[in-house]
Symmetry: C2
Subunit: 151 residues, 2 copies
């Protein structure tokens, strides 16, 4: 087993990129009858956990900014899943609130977690360990970007 630096870049980025795309492809058929895309599902999961929050709050949860989230949330509003309204305290912010339809969708997703766990081929504790590693990787990568930027 070679541990040269050259290959780490290539293989870590390949595997992360390919695994994320593969995960998307597993979710897609599970979300199809709910008329949801994978990022839209992530937004709903975040809102089921905490509702009535700003666009940037949703964004910090799933790692997206308004340039991606705004059109995504507009599509979800058009689908009747949520409402978007300016905050009265701070009119710069747009508050995202689940509709009854958006809230009810949670029930219909109850079988998804076990499907996904099965698809990963991981044990519950291995999945948790991997999640922790990926969370800390995300943090490191985001911090590196903050440190390196030319502001």
């Amino acid at each position: 087993m070679q541990h040269n630096t050259q290959k780490v870049d290539e293989l870590l980025c390949f595997s992360l990129y390919a695994a994320a795309n593969a995960m998307n492809r597993v979710y897609q058929p599970l979300l199809e009858n709910l008329q949801l895309t994978y990022p839209q599902y992530l937004v709903l999961v975040a809102l089921w956990e905490k509702d009535g929050v700003s666009v940037s709050h949703v964004g910090s949860r799933i790692g997206l900014e308004s340039n991606t989230l705004t059109p995504l949330l507009q599509r979800m509003e058009a689908a009747g899943l949520l409402r978007r309204s300016r905050s009265t305290q701070d009119e710069r912010q747009v508050i995202i609130s689940l509709s009854a339809k958006g809230r009810q969708l949670q029930k219909k997703t109850k079988d998804i977690p076990s499907c996904i766990l099965h698809a990963t081929g991981l044990s519950l504790s291995d999945a948790h360990q991997l999640r922790n590693k990926l969370s800390s990787l995300r943090t490191s990568l985001a911090n590196d970007r903050d440190t390196t930027d030319s502001s």
Copy 2:
């Protein structure tokens, strides 16, 4: 620490999705002066390893199909990085060959691996372990999809 199934889905998919996006954002400034996007860089890395292969061969390496690869490769051809030509043995296949420019680009990427490793905050051996886990995750997810499809 709860190990309930409900949260695995949410947190594994969140962390994988967010980490992959974060990785993309770290690569982007490193590739900017080379006029490359992150997926284009992955294609080049695959070609540096093995050149003169079909579209689907490149696709199997990075986990994409022709619907995504064809326009991507067309842009890279327009940028003078590679050539696309029908195989004479099997005219269904399009063979991708690096140009001199595409080959020379490899030298200019030599510092990227160490930048990425630094950004991950991981040791070399931790990075390798994570790569192995993600590779096997990708395999499991892809196999699950093959098994589940309604053909």
